[in-house]
């Protein structure tokens, strides 16, 4: 801070520090991944896990890992990546810290489609994921159109989102009241659950996740500029409306692909970007990779706990997520605020 001439080393050091954090999160993700595959009703030592994944062609370990745990853990990781990026994008685009995939109607839309499928048309339950995806995407579109008036005003979009979500919530509850015997069908979906997720689910998700991650990383500098306000962004030559629309689109595809498979886990999308912002700052070029990695860690970790804590039964991951995630988030939030005050 004393140096008048900007020392490139100092700037570089800041950059290196952030890259190191991201690298650390990458290693953490790997560790959680292996732990998640290794732990469960039947414990498989880490050495056996690696052997089963890389070398074995057959056998009990190979079957448990390959057919049950690996796809489930991969779905968990992808869910974390999708929802965290989606939330991070929305918080930037809306310039509102409360923005999360729920705001743009993804959760409620998926929820309605899922309820209709599971309760009214149980014969077509196998169509749950595509239906939920369509529901999520259609709701986002409706909210976007409703808040369009000479451009989309973020605050109007948030308020429309809340209104539509509550409206859709009422429809869901009405359906459930008329079919009380089928309510339990939807419970896993409304809380968010990873049980019985297989390769099919993973294959449904990963293409969206990959496109989303690539797009998000490519757009990160543009989001940074959007955070300077619409007027400055326009003055810097950014096509504000167009960029905002693309970003909301990416975000809804990401969230819809996750929510349609695992159910309403939108909370991840709210807290992970905030946690990472406290740790790595609000520059989206670092925030995106950090959020994606940590989101994966968090969902995989919580699912591991959900599977093992009350064996042989298991809890939906959404419950663990809120019970563990919320206090941890509050702790970071307080700590972050303290540091910010002290740091000045």
């Amino acid at each position: 801070m004393v140096a008048n001439k900007p020392s490139p080393e100092a700037l570089n050091q800041k950059h290196k520090q952030k890259i190191a954090i991201i690298g650390g999160l990458g290693l953490l993700m790997l560790a959680v991944f292996i732990a998640s595959v290794s732990m469960g009703a039947y414990h498989i030592p880490i050495k056996e896990v690696l052997k089963a994944i890389l070398i074995d062609k057959d056998g009990l370990n190979r079957n448990i890992i390959w057919k049950i745990r690996l796809p489930r853990t991969l779905v968990a990781a992808t869910t974390g990546i999708c929802l965290s990026l989606s939330g991070g994008i929305l918080q930037g685009v809306m310039k509102n810290p409360l923005a999360s995939p729920n705001i743009i109607g993804v959760s409620s839309g998926a929820g309605l489609a899922a309820t209709i499928t599971l309760v009214l048309l149980p014969k077509y339950a196998y169509l749950l994921t595509p239906m939920a995806f369509l529901g999520a995407f259609a709701t986002t579109l409706i909210i976007y159109i409703l808040s369009w008036k000479d451009g989309v005003n973020p605050l109007r979009m948030i308020l429309s989102g809340i209104a539509i979500s509550s409206f859709v919530g009422a429809i869901i509850n009405t359906i459930l009241i008329f079919f009380p015997d089928r309510v339990h069908n939807t419970l896993g979906f409304t809380i968010g659950s990873l049980s019985a997720k297989t390769w099919i689910h993973f294959h449904l998700m990963w293409p969206y996740a990959m496109i989303g991650v690539i797009m998000a990383l490519l757009m990160s500098k543009k989001i940074n500029i959007l955070m300077l306000g619409d007027e400055i962004a326009a003055s810097l030559g950014l096509k504000v409306e167009g960029v905002r629309m693309i970003l909301i689109g990416i975000s809804s595809v990401l969230a819809a692909s996750a929510v349609s498979v695992v159910g309403m886990l939108g909370f991840v999308g709210l807290i992970v970007p905030h946690m990472m912002r406290i740790i790595i700052g609000s520059d989206y070029r670092y925030l995106f990779p950090a959020s994606a990695l940590f989101g994966a860690c968090l969902v995989m970790g919580c699912d591991t706990v959900a599977r093992t804590i009350i064996q042989p039964a298991e809890l939906p991951v959404g419950i663990i997520m809120s019970i563990l995630g919320a206090p941890f988030f509050l702790y970071l939030l307080r700590g972050g605020m303290m540091n910010r005050v002290k740091g000045k």
Partner: protein, 273 residues
């Protein structure tokens, strides 16, 4: 250099700017003045292409800005809004770096030349000692300088400022206007600014444009604008105009608000009692 022709703009269906035309000369300082809600900020929005024109057009040199690509326009014109915002943890230098955005290719990577321009913008605005501080820790005046530095890093030919001195104390207002004047004289930056303080406009501008009710009321040199008749008509105040021999410009003091008629007030008071 910048030419506005018969500009009409509306906001939520209500026509707010009607048939406004003016021309900004290269390397000049122009101030736009007018009562609150007269349409000044709306004109600024149209200039940055963030508002659709109902009719009319805006020319930058010999090209309509609707035909200039956003990034190319940003390399020639920069617009600072009234109270810009930045994320809490961005440093002054980070912020100024974003001024290079319209010059970067899709990778968004800053090169040696960009760093040199950022350094230059920092030196011009005397922010050397503050460049690694976070924006939120800066004072109002310093922050305003940081935004101007960001605009400078864009290397524009023309800089538009919307009420740059609002929220600043008199010392920082003066400092900022002196900075703007210096940039105009030293690097030939064309300046257009919306000002509320007419005395400041008179002192620092080559030309003043007066907007009233969405229309251009008058434009001219400070001596033509800061007159009893114009100010009384536009701002509804009775004024006394003096000559500032020190700076070679006119200045005025308000005497009373013409809207409030004393006889009328007295009559009201009588009726109440």
């Amino acid at each position: 250099m910048l030419k506005v022709n018969n500009l009409c703009l509306s906001y939520e269906g209500i026509e707010t700017v009607k048939n406004v035309s003016f021309e900004i000369k290269k390397e000049s300082i122009t101030s736009i003045i007018g009562p609150n809600g007269c349409g000044k900020s709306t004109i600024f929005k149209a200039l940055s292409k963030s508002k659709r024109l109902d009719s009319g057009d805006i020319w930058l040199q010999s090209k309509s800005i609707s035909k200039i690509d956003s990034k190319a326009l940003a390399r020639r014109m920069s617009i600072l809004p009234q109270s810009p915002i930045a994320p809490d943890d961005f440093t002054t230098r980070d912020l100024i770096g974003y001024g290079r955005y319209p010059h970067l290719n899709w990778t968004g990577k800053l090169h040696k030349k960009d760093y040199e321009i950022i350094d230059w913008a920092i030196t011009e605005t005397k922010l050397e000692k503050l460049q690694h501080r976070k924006i939120i820790t800066l004072s109002g005046g310093e922050r305003q300088r940081a935004w101007i530095a960001m605009a400078l890093a864009q290397q524009p030919d023309i800089l538009l400022l919307d009420e740059p001195t609002t929220f600043l104390d008199i010392c920082h207002q003066f400092e900022l206007l002196e900075l703007i004047k210096r940039l105009n004289q030293q690097i030939g930056l064309t300046i257009v600014m919306v000002l509320h303080d007419i005395n400041q406009a008179a002192r620092y501008s080559d030309k003043i444009i007066v907007i009233k009710d969405g229309q251009k009321y008058k434009e001219g040199k400070p001596y033509e604008i800061v007159t009893k008749s114009v100010l009384e008509d536009v701002f509804n105040i009775e004024v006394k105009v003096f000559e500032d021999n020190e700076n070679g410009c006119p200045y005025f003091i308000p005497i009373k608000n013409k809207a409030v008629n004393n006889e009328y007030v007295e009559k009201l008071l009588r009726e109440c009692s």
